[in-house]
Symmetry: C2
Subunit: 202 residues, 2 copies
């Protein structure tokens, strides 16, 4: 078993933090996105979408998509639990994880992908859409600050996969100037707390 | 228990088809997106994102996000199974469901959202990005046609949630002229098969 990883990209970090929280160690193999190694035929056989991370199982199965990889390990090692213990909690955590993915991470990533020099010529860019993403992310952080007035973590009173996605989405906003604002005390308190967990450095 | 629904939108259809496959009946209450009822304060208390569908449980919990709603019912009624039976199958189906969501449905929806008169003034639009989405969707259908040469359904040899997402993503492409092409025999065969299931009319 191994995980194809790239330490500078946000999605691989999601799986590294998740596994660190679980106390699971898996060997990593670096695939250099900056050098375009994830778009080469050899890698596209592993994941035709070209995305990282990818988990390779010992039977040769490739599992792409960060949340699918997390699900695999959650099913095999349910404790410490990060994705819910019963039907209702699983659904609530998945709802919050998806909100953090689509409303925060996809927006900070969309701002970067559509405006950065790095992606010029690699993907079709729309600076207009990059701006829409940036504005959406700023609005969503304001909203999330309000949500965190009422509870300790994103999906409730305990740390879950939704906190990992939110942390990485917000941290990735730095490259396009999307930051927690001075008045956002709840979000700042939460960010300080999740950033200080040992897993945040994974 | 009830589900807030809007019959003309793609995401609510995902849950209706899923429940039809399971043989589960839940009362629906219509929320008219065309009239903007999903942006009114009363609905935003149920889902601050304004999206449909939303599941309301008897204890007053609101669960938004189609896949989170499907997960809730899958956990309570695992058969017929649509999201996987063990760690590996769950992960593989989730990978494929996410691919169908991000590479197909999000692209046909992105093409519509960013170019349609319907969304003008409702959301910030980027026609450039709409065009990028349309081109991406067309490319992804070509790729999916190739994938379906080797197996009966999107995630393997049986019908799963990934087929539901793909069906609805592709069907939603019609409004922006994204269609299965004449040469795409595998995709056409698959589309015919999943469209003829009784659940497709849900």
């Amino acid at each position: 078993m191994k995980i194809y990883d790239f330490t500078q990209a946000p999605n691989p970090r999601r799986v590294r933090v998740f596994l660190a929280e679980k106390g699971i160690t898996v060997p990593y193999e670096q695939v250099n996105i900056a050098a375009g190694d994830n778009r080469k035929p050899e890698f596209l056989k592993k994941n035709p979408m070209g995305g990282l991370p990818v988990l390779e199982l010992d039977d040769g199965t490739f599992i792409a998509e960060s949340v699918a990889i997390c699900r695999y390990f959650e099913e095999l090692h349910p404790e410490p639990n990060l994705m819910g213990k019963d039907a209702k909690e699983k659904a609530v955590i998945e709802m919050w994880n998806r909100r953090m993915e689509f409303e925060v991470l996809a927006m900070t990533a969309g701002a970067f992908r559509n405006t950065s020099e790095f992606f010029k010529g690699r993907i079709p860019q729309s600076p207009d859409y990059g701006e829409i993403c940036k504005n959406a992310a700023i609005k969503r952080l304001e909203w999330l600050d309000g949500e965190l007035a009422n509870r300790k973590f994103v999906a409730g009173d305990r740390f879950t996969i939704a906190d990992i996605t939110a942390l990485i989405g917000i941290d990735f906003g730095r490259v396009t100037g999307i930051r927690i604002q001075d008045g956002q005390k709840n979000l700042a308190r939460w960010h300080q707390e999740v950033s200080s967990r040992p897993s945040a450095k994974a």
